[in-house]
């Protein structure tokens, strides 16, 4: 259990990387609290796995320093860092039994056999693997194997952190849900620092206290699920979190007003825009109202997704999604109204503050 400090970490896979774009991980400067449950969320290739492997020591960063509880571990090999990691695809030791697979990390560290047995049985019970403890790992199904990998990650009681690299990819949806709640429960009872890499927002939002959103090798926002939803600090976060994603459209700002295609939209305050660059207005589909007398829109289609309806429309030539309750009527001459408090203004994709 440890506080993890990432001090100006950057990494490039090619040694002669110079331009900023050559870096798989541009610059990460952040501290992860002891006992936190973090999710690293982002699309494939955004540097999540790279960051994870830097923490576990499988990769040495090209720049920066990493510390556990204030002790520099940048030059320590993986074995000396006392980290557990679960990989995307199952890694099991084929010739061993399920029991021995779980005991392996403990026996390698010369834990007394009595303790090994106690701990392994605990984890076997927790992951529901007891019935196959004596079976050889070869010939099990992919999700059984992944459960073994997962259990092997949990078996050591004294690790600094447990890292999960999209561990539930190969597991079927029902089991996925169960395992995820078990992990969450384990986090509460054990107090391990856990880092969970995923590209699935539901997974990230249900597992973590703090979600770290990454995009093109950078951390774009760290926050609670609510913060990410209500105040995305980058248009990518708005787009990536929520379904459908945030509506983003180019706009001009005039004092406490935003102008899109001649329509004036009231804001909660005056955005601190310096004037240069690309200005955009972002609003979640959940905060757009459909009512008579609103701004004119053209509705393309209405999708019924059960408890809600998604209206796909165009506003001043830009696509606009609106989420309505299932039983809400859509007036024939309906227009859109944006809730001022839910509007964010973005300069060059980054959210800008507002003066009240």
């Amino acid at each position: 259990m440890a506080r993890i400090t990432l001090d100006h970490i950057r990494h490039a896979y090619s040694p002669e990387a110079e331009a900023r774009g050559d870096y798989a991980l541009k610059e990460v400067h952040h501290e992860w609290e002891d006992g936190g449950a973090y999710a690293l969320l982002g699309p494939s290739g955004c540097g999540k796995t790279t960051l994870l492997n830097i923490i576990s020591g499988l990769i040495r960063p090209s720049g920066g320093r990493i510390a556990f509880n204030g002790v520099d571990v940048t030059d320590l090999p993986t074995e000396a860092r006392n980290i557990a990691q679960v990989f995307q695809f199952p890694v099991v030791y084929d010739t061993m039994t399920v029991y021995d697979n779980l005991a392996f990390p403990l026996r390698n560290r010369h834990v007394p056999e009595v303790q090994v047995d106690k701990r392994v049985r605990e984890i076997l019970a927790m992951t529901d693997l007891e019935s196959m403890a004596k079976q050889r790992a070869r010939g099990l199904t992919a999700d059984q194997k992944q459960k073994i990998s997962l259990a092997r990650g949990l078996v050591r009681a004294d690790v600094n952190a447990i890292l999960f690299d999209e561990p539930l990819t190969v597991i079927d949806p029902h089991l996925k849900w169960m395992l995820r709640s078990q992990l969450k429960q384990l986090h509460r009872s054990s107090g391990f620092t856990m880092v969970y890499v995923t590209h699935d927002q539901t997974e990230a939002l249900t597992f973590a206290d703090k979600v770290v959103v990454m995009y093109e090798g950078e951390i774009v926002q760290i926050g609670t699920p609510t913060e990410l939803f209500e105040r995305p600090s980058h248009t990518f976060v708005g787009y990536f979190i929520g379904s459908p994603g945030m509506n983003v459209m180019p706009a001009q700002v005039q004092g406490r007003m935003a102008v899109i295609g001649g329509q004036e939209i009231a804001l909660a305050g005056a955005p601190k825009v310096a004037g240069e660059g690309r200005i955009e207005l972002g609003i979640r589909p959940e905060f757009v109202r459909l009512e008579r007398g609103g701004m004119p829109i053209a509705i393309d289609k209405v999708e019924d997704i059960g408890r809600q309806k998604i209206v796909r429309a165009r506003f001043a030539g830009h696509p606009l999604s609106i989420v309505l309750d299932e039983d809400q009527e859509i007036p024939a001459d309906a227009g859109a109204r944006f809730e001022p408090g839910a509007i964010g203004i973005y300069a060059n994709s980054w959210r800008v503050g507002m003066e009240a």
């Binding site: 492997n53 576990s56 020591g57 499988l58 090999p77 993986t78 074995e79 980290i83 557990a84 990691q85 990989f87 995307q88 695809f89 890694v91 030791y93 084929d94 010739t95 061993m96 392996f104 990390p105 390698n108 560290r109 050889r136 070869r138 990998s149 092997r152 990650g153």
Partner: protein, 288 residues
């Protein structure tokens, strides 16, 4: 459904039957034929029953060359398999050196058997051979023409030089197919180098090792050309393996009957070993 019988269908199989007859059955039956008959020339043959077989199994000469051959195969396996694994483990997995290593490894396999024999015949000579000359200059009393131990040493080193590559290439192929995640997981789990070998690499190599052991056993048990070129089976009979003995008997002494009997026994031994080997390997496979 009613079955229709059409005997003309036999004609369809005929070409294959003819081919197999000429390529396998007739030559084999010729040997069987010789093994139960005796001749005094003039193309006259007499029925001899199992006489050649009983003679063979009672002759010291046969048992000597058989045990020499078994010892040779055992030594070859004991050297080439561990050495092959060791080299494969230490070969680079990526980068420019991969192709260099692979070509170096493949080279000995591309050299014809009798050329390999000639190379070592000259290499080991005490007068002009680099190895033989240097060994003697350094004070070792090395002479494969006169000393049976030196002759064995030469033949064994030659075979290791020629065939270890095969084991290396087979093992290497299975080693590079292990995903990186396995090594990463092993690091996370704190596994020692030995544990990585024992629990990750060896299980992965098990199948190809089965093939490697079988191939190397068969090849070394049937070895002929290389030792024949280097030592000619000598000094004395010290490097006369089964196949060399067989050729001596068949072509040197023109004892066709005993040679035919020996051929059949030789063939049966190889068949027996292959069967035992195969059964044991598949049985352990099924166990897992």
């Amino acid at each position: 459904m009613e079955k229709t019988w059409n005997n003309k269908a036999w004609f369809m199989v005929l070409p294959v039957l003819v081919l197999v007859a000429f390529s396998a059955v007739i030559p084999l039956m010729t040997v069987v034929n010789y093994s139960v008959q005796d001749t005094f020339g003039n193309n006259e043959f007499f029925w001899n029953g199992t006489q050649w077989f009983t003679d063979l199994l009672r002759s010291q000469r046969f048992w000597d060359s058989l045990s020499r051959n078994l010892i040779f195969s055992a030594v070859i396996l004991a050297l080439e398999i561990p050495l092959g694994i060791l080299i494969a483990l230490n070969m680079p997995k990526k980068g420019a050196w991969v192709s260099v290593c692979l070509v170096l490894m493949a080279l000995p396999l591309l050299i014809p058997w009798n050329v390999v024999g000639t190379i070592w015949q000259i290499f080991g000579r005490t007068d002009i051979g680099l190895f033989g000359y240097v060994a003697n200059a350094l004070g070792f009393d090395y002479n494969y023409v006169q000393d049976p131990v030196d002759a064995w040493l030469t033949v064994i080193i030659m075979d290791v030089w020629h065939w270890t590559s095969l084991v290396v290439l087979l093992c290497y192929a299975s080693l590079v197919s292990i995903p990186d995640a396995y090594y990463q997981a092993a690091k996370i789990d704190g596994a020692s180098r030995l544990a990585v070998f024992r629990y990750i690499q060896l299980p992965k190599m098990r199948r190809v090792l089965t093939i490697a052991i079988l191939l190397r056993f068969m090849d070394s048990f049937m070895i002929y050309t290389e030792p024949f070129v280097v030592t000619g089976g000598g000094p004395g009979n010290s490097t006369t393996f089964l196949s060399i003995d067989l050729v001596k008997m068949a072509l040197g002494q023109f004892d066709l009957g005993p040679a035919a009997a020996m051929s059949i026994v030789y063939f049966l031994i190889i068949l027996l070993f292959s069967w035992v080997f195969y059964t044991v390997m598949t049985a352990t496979d099924a166990q897992n």
